[in-house]
């Protein structure tokens, strides 16, 4: 019977040999992410920065970005960014936060509406005032930090502190590199991005937990094995599942990227990156870190706690 098998039946990769390359790759990735975040910065959307966004569709023919730009720039709205969005007949107009209070921001929407209404239909307007922008930023940061802590506590509760530390390192690695991904690609960083980051965290920890579960199980099964051999064996045993799940999730995400429309595109692209980095980190960071700490072997079947065995 035909079976699609991406991973051989009994894989025996020696992951231990590659951990150091993984660490180097991750170190480079983290440095790149942080420096890109610091020097290039994020392309913050109006959710966090405040400002106005207008999506408009040309009534006939293609949208003329240049003409729109000329028309809008002379109006002292400050920085106006116009780009095609989705098809060739749709544009996204972003207008920076205006001087003055909320009333001044609302006025802009009205004025732009008037200026473009003969050639374009306005399909969507979004306005986020400075107060709300600051609040959303605060809430977003809080959400990510709380999620990290909650997951760390859960892992600590279900496993032991060594696993918890390894998991949180892997998770921070994913969050930082995803933020770096947004800084480098200049994708818009908005509320949906926070959702993407939290989902990536959930996905990545999911992967990590599966590997950890197997390591714990194998500690009980192979009592005389060395810790590193157990970790390596566990990674091999879970490899097929890791790849399968990552691929099905990636397939679903690709469907959204291709067919889900422009609103979801950046969001799903970030998620796709997250699936890749989450899969990678559960092997090379989470399991990799575990090779450097000594793990409690847990209770054996008779309920005796065996002493950890030190390597080398």
């Amino acid at each position: 019977m035909f079976r699609l098998k991406l991973i051989p039946d009994n894989p025996s990769f020696i992951f231990l040999n590659y951990f150091k390359f993984g660490f180097i790759f991750s170190a480079v990735l983290i440095v790149l992410s942080i420096s890109s975040f610091l020097f290039q910065g994020l392309n913050l959307g109006i959710d966090f920065k405040g400002g106005t966004l207008i999506e408009a569709k040309s009534k006939s023919g293609k949208a003329d970005v240049q003409q729109l730009r000329n028309g809008l720039q002379g109006n002292s709205f400050g920085e106006v960014s116009i780009q095609l969005f989705g098809g060739e007949d749709e544009v996204l107009i972003r207008i920076q936060k205006q001087e003055g209070d909320e009333q001044a921001q609302i006025k802009v929407i009205k004025e732009v509406n008037l200026l473009i209404s003969d050639k374009y239909t306005v399909r969507r307007t979004e306005f986020v005032g400075p107060t709300i922008g600051a609040e959303l930023t605060q809430k977003g940061i809080l959400a990510v930090i709380t999620a990290l802590i909650a997951i760390m506590i859960y892992i600590w509760f279900r496993f032991e502190w060594q696993y918890s530390i390894a998991a949180i390192l892997a998770l921070s690695h994913d969050v930082i590199s995803t933020i770096g991904f947004f800084a480098i690609t200049s994708f818009e960083f908005n509320l949906a991005t926070i959702a993407a980051i939290l989902t990536i965290s959930g996905y990545s920890i999911n992967d990590t937990v599966v590997v950890f579960d197997r390591i714990r199980e194998n500690f009980r099964r192979y009592k005389s094995w060395k810790q590193n051999d157990i970790i390596n064996k566990s990674l091999n045993e879970t490899l097929s599942r890791t790849i399968m799940t990552s691929l099905t999730t990636a397939l679903a995400l690709i469907a959204i990227i291709v067919f889900g429309g422009p609103v979801l595109r950046d969001f799903s692209a970030a998620m796709l990156w997250g699936v890749f980095i989450g899969t990678y980190s559960s092997i090379f960071i989470a399991a990799g870190v575990l090779t450097y700490v000594s793990l409690n072997r847990g209770e054996d079947d008779n309920g005796n706690v065996s002493k950890p065995e030190f390597e080398e």
């Binding site: 399909r123 979004e126 959930g202 879970t238 679903a252 995400l253 469907a255 067919f259 609103v263």
Partner: protein, 513 residues
């Protein structure tokens, strides 16, 4: 024979049927089906989302200035000598000139009750809101504003807008299916405080404007039609908008748009008295602090009158509507606005549907190729999962947003994970040389702990998204959370039942998963 308890089959069947029952109204509309279809978010069906703030400070200063006027009148009636009565900086203060008058002052202030605190500092008396008084005022203001907003946006009670208090002084307004979001703002943008006040004849508006001096008891107000005209009107409000019985758009004798109104009995009585006593004097009609017009009283007027001014037909319609609905207790500021046209919503639904269908087909193709007939069973589980998500969303009347659809598609990808964990485990057990029956039992029992651990962590993330998220992000977290729970059901129970039934029916000699 693999055993599968009867009660479990019963539970699975019940959940399946319940899911079907609640999901069906989304696909077909049949009269005997219970429940409603899924509540689509504004991004899918189009509409306006506004976050407003009620300006409590404006209410406070207005209330304090009313109180200052009340105290002025009372002190005069009691013949108390006082000076420097003002209501600046959110505190009413005045100085009693004669020490013997403090008992009279205390009698007057007693009426104000617990909502205020009175401090005496030297010879100055200060009155301010107490903390409880302020909170009470705040709640009352926001609740009244919500009521007025509802009457303005939904006068016929058919549009189902969401109008909720958020936090201390904020109001969330969501109006589905509005074509012109500007109109919503136009309806909410004005307080619509209508008053009738007599024009002060001692000085003209132009004189007062240039000298900067206004006779005591009067104020200088601008004309609403932007023509640079000013009026000096008496502070005393003769008749106000809360005495309106009704208002409707109409036309004046020159055929330009106007608003016809009629007053209730109290208003009519006052109106008749004022107009009867002041024939020949101009009577200012003031809306939100601007003079709409100031016609001269020609004869005594009773209940019915007309407001003329510089209106378009749309303006006179809207104005009549807001006057009928009543004045907002406080001015509203828009903090956040998101409006989606109906065309974009329809496009998004179409795109979301295609993405979901393509995603599901790709995932099914992949698992059938990988696990054969068992992959097909997992795929049936996947479709049941999809149906259960739709059913749960309909049952909970949760809002489905575009990111919510993304959440569903993502769940489809991740839901397979549980099946993959189980299948891989069964493969391993088979390789270790276990019999079919044992391999399946061991595969399930070993994989379940891992599945629960792994899904709980994602559930934690989705709960946090719900707690901290707003709008679209919440929609995503709801479908992700529901999807995790339903996928646990389909993987651990539903697909397992299918596999057990299949094995028992075909009794294969070898198992190739």
């Amino acid at each position: 024979m693999l055993h599968f308890e009867a009660w479990k089959r019963f539970v699975i069947l019940s959940v399946f049927l319940a899911g079907l029952l609640f999901a069906l109204p989304n696909l077909v509309s049949l009269p005997f089906l219970p429940g409603k279809s899924i509540n689509l978010g504004l991004d899918l069906r189009g509409g306006s989302h506004l976050l407003l703030r009620a300006d409590i400070n404006a209410v406070v200063s207005e209330r304090l200035s009313d109180i200052a006027e009340g105290i002025r009148i009372s002190l005069r009636e009691e013949k108390v000598k006082f000076k420097s009565l003002s209501s600046d900086n959110n505190v009413v203060s005045f100085v009693i000139r004669d020490d013997d008058d403090y008992s009279k002052r205390d009698n007057i202030l007693k009426e104000f009750g617990d909502d205020f605190v009175v401090e005496t500092n030297g010879d100055t008396t200060r009155i301010n809101f107490s903390e409880s008084g302020f909170i009470e005022l705040q709640s009352r203001t926001v609740e009244q504003a919500i009521e007025i907003i509802r009457r303005r946006l939904d006068p016929d009670g058919t549009k189902e807008p969401v109008i909720q208090r958020q936090g201390v002084d904020r109001i969330l307004v969501q109006v589905p299916g509005i074509d012109d979001p500007e109109r919503v703002k136009a309806l909410l943008g004005r307080t619509a405080r209508l008053t009738f006040q007599l024009v002060d004849m001692r000085v003209t508006g132009a004189e007062a404007k240039s000298s900067g001096r206004v006779p005591p008891g009067s104020v200088l107000l601008e004309s609403s039609s932007n023509d640079g005209q000013y009026y000096v009107v008496e502070k005393r409000v003769m008749v106000s908008g809360d005495m309106l019985e009704t208002a409707s758009a109409g036309f004046d004798q020159n055929n330009s748009p106007a608003i016809n109104f009629s007053l209730n009995s109290i208003g009519a009585k006052k109106f008749a008295t004022v107009t009867g006593n002041n024939i020949g004097r101009p009577f200012a009609i003031i809306l939100d602090g601007l003079v709409v017009s100031a016609p001269t009283i020609r004869a005594q007027i009773f209940a019915n009158g007309q407001i003329t001014g510089d209106f378009s037909i749309q303006e006179s319609n809207d104005l009549a509507l807001v006057l009928r609905a009543g004045a907002l207790p406080a001015p509203l500021t828009v903090l956040e606005e998101r409006s989606i046209g109906p065309g974009l919503g329809a496009d998004s639904i179409a795109a979301g549907q295609i993405a979901a269908i393509v995603g599901v087909i790709l995932v099914i193709l992949f698992i059938v190729l990988s696990y054969g007939i068992y992959g097909a069973m997992a795929s049936v589980g996947l479709l049941v999962n999809l149906m259960l998500i739709l059913g749960a969303l309909s049952l909970l009347q949760a809002t489905l947003t575009l990111p919510g659809i993304a959440g569903i598609v993502l769940t489809m990808g991740m839901a397979v994970d549980s099946n993959v964990l189980i299948f891989e485990r069964i493969r391993e057990e088979l390789r270790r040389g276990r019999a079919i029956r044992d391999a399946i039992l061991a595969g399930y029992s070993r994989a379940i702990a891992t599945i629960i651990d792994a899904n709980l962590t994602t559930l934690i993330a989705s709960i946090l998204l719900y707690v901290f998220g707003s709008g679209p992000v919440r929609g995503f977290s709801v479908t992700l959370g529901i999807g995790i729970i339903t996928s646990l059901f389909t993987a651990i129970l539903f697909t397992r039942m299918l596999i057990v039934l299949w094995i028992n029916a075909t009794k294969p000699k070898t198992l190739v998963i």
